[in-house]
Symmetry: C2
Subunit: 86 residues, 2 copies
């Protein structure tokens, strides 16, 4: 089907990676981000390590704390479909 | 900041709306989708009504069951930033 695409990286790990890189790009700590999002620092750390099956409301809170839309933290890497390894 | 954007529709409701529309576009039932995703029919129904704070692993399972990437079910509506009401 025309829409079919699969990613080699799980959505959970993609979110974790993008969250961390966007946080670091802003020069803020996990603690700062946690406070901005109304979450606990250790929780943010575990999300960034991909250890948490984070739910949509918290994903949105973290994105908004960074001034982003949730979709910005889940965007598929360019060419991800054809990537064979990661 | 340059990245700042906010949505008038919560991410949870955006996912719910897009999940339902993509499912209907394929002409499949909630029960079919649930089976494809390995989830329960009533759970899928509650997700489509925005009643569930669904976690990322299940969001990905539902997207993949539709042949989509998770980001396809969370994409911000065009012009959403300037939209004042929904």
């Amino acid at each position: 089907m025309s829409h079919a695409r699969t990613s080699t990286e799980s959505a959970r790990l993609r979110f974790a990676r993008l969250l961390k890189s966007e946080r670091l790009a802003r020069g803020i700590s996990q603690e700062d981000l946690a406070e901005l999002a109304g979450l606990h620092r250790t929780y943010v750390g575990s999300v960034e390590r991909g250890e948490r099956n984070i739910a949509v409301d918290n994903m949105e809170a973290l994105a908004n704390a960074l001034g982003l839309d949730i979709s910005d933290l889940l965007s598929a890497p360019a060419g991800d479909v054809r990537k064979s390894t990661r």
